[in-house]
Subunit: 243 residues, 2 copies
DNA sequence: GAATCTATATCGTGC
DNA sequence: GCACGATGTAGATTC
């Protein structure tokens, strides 16, 4: 079937023979959607067993396998891109999807297949903004939002204890370490900053300051921050949303 | 259409009128799958714009919205469960999915709808094992895997600075803090343990030990661990996989 | 390939 | 509802 430039096919209540030839012809080439009752077994980093039930199965041309039930954003089982997908012409028909690192395998036993569809899909353009990196950019363009006299030096500054979002100097020449969070900062953000802070304090002669930049932080995060001698600067997303 | 106990419906190349009545009747009741060219705009914690392109749209009865392209395990855009989904009978037909906290909205402009399917789905049983909690259970049942004389006291021990996986006493009566990781431990695991360690050392008179239990840890994690005076115990997943 | 961090993370739990 | 940690996290980036 063809509409505009998109070719797609639909099989309703297909026989096993139809399913097998349909799938073997189309996997890795088209976006395949199967609605069927199935059992699913997963074994790898963890293990899972799913009893027979109707589910939605998606096979992407890049090797991704996604199995959904009727609830949640997260799939019941999955395999990421690069997975080796095989259709086993057994009774019942079986889809085996495995990858090497980590070694993981999903087996899908297809019981009743209600429909299968397949389509050639070319991806469109996608632009996203408002991520952490955008905030770091805003700081570099508006260093005074940290404080008067702040001079950004390096972003993604590498240390053995992790990458520091931004390092710079204050007007007194102190080393300044900045960790940015795009949403309310939690304990882990403070720990992360403290890890960098300790490392820089040990390896640099200069005085060091650690600053957490976020729209807000939790009560416990604030307590810990103060106890550790670190600083907080509120990032008002409204104020700098013009970029 | 009915096969066994599963009722499902398929519309091929539906008209706008058909799409509208089909969707309004079925959202929040059935698992709906749409394959269509569409534009997608998202605005909330971040923002995104996706140009017109064929995509797979899933509307779950719990309010979940998932939009997939032909690559990746992760959807292009989404809304989690609890989202308010509306079908707007405009030209073009539009799906608006919004939630309050955080305030986020997705607008999907449907251009050409190739097919829509819908099905009543009751979820099956699902059992998973091999998660962190299973390792903690194993330790509690085999305390000697920590060391001779170790006595587990409390799991999920609450502190202002986070929940400690397991606390106990060693044979000398020292307080022992245990952080468990199911895969190779990284810097953040060491920071996490250290946060708990500092807190307990400050609030308890007793001597305190912090132990990281994991199958392995990265080089830098090991360095930091040693520097902070914390300990590591290897958890051999093979050895205790019998539970 | 290993290590680290971000994510519109999502999800579960405890308060 | 908030805070916090786990996730079979996935995905991007750097080394």
């Amino acid at each position: 079937m063809r509409i505009s430039n998109t070719v797609y096919s639909v099989l309703l209540n297909p026989s096993n023979t139809e399913i097998y030839s349909f799938l073997t012809e189309r996997i890795y080439r088209e976006l395949v959607v199967i609605f069927a009752t199935c059992k699913v077994n997963y074994k790898g980093r963890a293990e899972s067993v799913a009893s027979e039930s109707p589910r939605l199965i998606i096979l992407k041309p890049d090797g991704t396998v996604i199995i959904h039930e009727s609830v949640k954003r997260e799939p019941l089982n999955w395999q990421p891109p690069g997975t080796k997908i095989e259709i086993m012409n057994d009774y019942p028909l079986k889809i085996v999807a495995q990858r090497k690192r980590p070694k993981e395998v999903i087996e899908i036993d297809l019981k009743e297949v209600f429909y299968i569809t397949s389509a050639e899909v070319k991806d469109g353009d996608f632009v996203i903004k408002g991520r952490e990196i955008d905030i770091v950019n805003t700081i570099i363009q508006n260093p005074s939002m940290i404080e008067e006299g702040f001079v950004p030096l390096t972003r993604e500054y590498n240390t053995p204890y992790g990458k520091i979002d931004l390092v710079g100097l204050d007007k007194k020449g102190n080393f300044v370490i900045i960790e940015v969070k795009r949403s309310k900062a939690q304990l882990s953000a403070v720990s992360q900053l403290y890890r960098y802070y300790l490392h820089i304090r040990e390896t640099k002669e200069d005085k060091v300051r650690g600053i957490l930049v976020a729209p807000d932080l939790t009560t416990h995060a604030r307590e810990l921050l103060q106890k550790l001698g670190l600083e907080f600067i509120r990032y008002d997303i409204q104020k700098y949303s013009s970029y």
